[in-house]
Amino acid sequence: MSKRFLFRLMALLIIPALLLSACAGGTVEEEQEFVFGVVLVGPKNDRGWSQAHYEGGQYVEENMPGARMIVFESLNPADKPEATLEGVVDDMVADGAQLVFTTSDEFEEDTLGAAEKYPEVTFISISGDDAWAEGQDAGKAPPNLGNIMGRMPDMKAVAGCAAALATETGKLAYLGPLINFETRRLAASAYLGARYCYDEFRGMDPDDLEYTVTWIGFWFNIPGVTLDPTEVTTNFIDSGADVVLSGIDTTEAIVVSGQRADQGERVFAVPYDFVGACDEKPEICLGVPYFNWGPDYLETASAVEAGSWEQEWEWNKAAWDALDDRTKTPIGWIHGPGLTDEWKADLETFIDGMASGDVVVWKGPLNLQDGTTYLEEGEVATGQQIWYLPQLLEGMEGPSK
């Protein structure tokens, strides 16, 4: 009997399969349609990193006639053990994609393989460095693979400056995710911005500024695996910090600070990543550094469609005169309602200085955390020196590795 059952089961599974595949004929292609794919590591509505990319894709659809986005969400082994980047790209290309954005450093290696497999399709590996001629992985990328990243350290310096303007205890805290080149340079950049403004606008000795970094272990809380960001933020405030800067994807820093402020304490927070992050607790929010992928995505898509795209490693500067204009700047800063008018004025001065090049925070003398010299007196850091920061800087408390 079991054989018969098996036959029936098989027949059952195969017959509709054949019927349906017969029905799945070719789709009608529209003329001058431009199809591009966006592969996300998280859900498209995560109010953080992945949502910012999804909105970037929507921006292209809105501003480029004939553009059609194909999105694949949550490509990570925990959510989709059966899916691979290669498989997703196969489908996107089969559906006509001429350009694919892979939006996580987790995809960097697999994007190389995909780009080699489809030389006629353009790939953009977000946050990667394979296409950087002066980078550590120079020469790895085939000619149809580029990289785009926003120059977030600049916005983190603004965040640090805001923190230094607001602090009364002289103790700042940075809620870090995991430790790598990217997170080190962001934490360090905020520190340098804070030092500059503590000195320049507060008239205090920047060496007196305490700056503690605690890495929770991942981009968001995983119970039992990472440190609990709620607890870490509580500890920060208990030990005297009155501004908490967030480097993680979720909102614990501003939520906990907000609760403490409700109890009458003087605390502020600077969230990260998402343009609407201040909404959690506006009155204690000093502002938010955020990514805005739309303009870069649009430029890339237009160039690919016109056939004028060329391989590039883009580390795009902010449109300094339009930090809150989402049609212009790839990264930005939104003033938070927690800023006083006086702080806002100082912060504007700082931003203008950075825009004009008069203010350079990544400038020597600068030592690494272990005391070795990183930049000589007056030396300005190169792109590589910022991108590949090997340790935290002298004066920052917290592990470098």
Binding site: M1, S2, F5, L6, R8, L9, M10, L12, L13, P16, A17, L20, S21, C23, A24, G37, I70, V71, F72, E73, N76, P77, A78, D79, K80, P81, E82, A83, T84, G87, V88, D90, D91, M92, A94, D95, D105, E106, E109, K117, L178, I179, N180, F181, G217, F218, W219, I222, G224, V225, K401
Partner: protein, 351 residues
Amino acid sequence: MTGRAWLRRLWPLAPVLGALVITSGLLLLFGVSPFEGFGALLQGAFGTEAKVLSVAAFWVPLTLAAAGLVVAFTAGLWNIGVEGQIVMGAVASSWLALRFDAPRPILLVAEILVAMAAGALWAGVVAIFKTRGGVHEIFGGLALNNIAIIFTNYLISGPWQPPEGGTFRGTVPFPEKALFPLLGVSRLSPLSIALTLGALAAVYFILRGTYWGLKLDALGRNPKSAFLLGVSSEREMILAMMFCGALAGLGGSVRVLSWFDSLRQSISGGIGFLALLVVMLALFRVVLVPFVAFFFSAVLSGSISLQLRTQLHSSLGGILTSVMVLLVLLFGDYRQLGIFGSRGGKALADE
């Protein structure tokens, strides 16, 4: 043949058709034609050679874990811990792949054996908790699943993190010779196919042709009388769990040494839980396991195309398979209908 006899013959189709109807309804609800939706799913699973190979590659660990589960279920055990056993197998293989150097054949055999041992040990702990500590295997298994996942996270963000710093993604890629030989550019290894077919044959033979298989069956049907008849329930339970753990561990090994090339954050990602569904849909019978597992693998892989084509959430494939399992569990007790005689369905179908 009478109409009634036909009805009986067609009865097994009911849950499958029911699930198709329900999922089609969902598709219609979201404004997608079911023909387009299922068409995309099929193309996603079988549209190209690469897709077929990918379906087969995902089938391997799923089938291995499910084959092991059939043995555990026969002994009346709910080995929910199979997920953690896959993970521990993956961890054990990764340890050899990262730290040891030997000629390829020796290294591969060692990686496979150590994965099976690790899976078996992890399952043995659950079994001993049950027999000695009175902890039900579901709770013991769930706890050990979590520990296995936390242990992986510790390894990839701690001692095994890449030299450039942890991104929490995984370890560095293993050297070529530590990996299974692959078919072309796919993630499928002929070696895994051979191992899986061997495992299926072994399970079939054990359950049909050995004294141990009989004892497990007796234990699963009625532990008390089996004990009175002289079956050592503790020993057989532990062995049945360890057997299942060994196959799950092997699945984990396949996962790191052919699907990926390194130990990743969620190396299994729920394959163990899927395998539980596979076994249920297969009515706890090992002969059906490879086919049902293939069906699961095809539907899940096809869902990727379904999501891309329709821009619906790709969990639709998961809904399709889950509804099917649910309907089989609800209406699928064929024995009551007298279609298959008393052999169909083992211990759990009795419950």
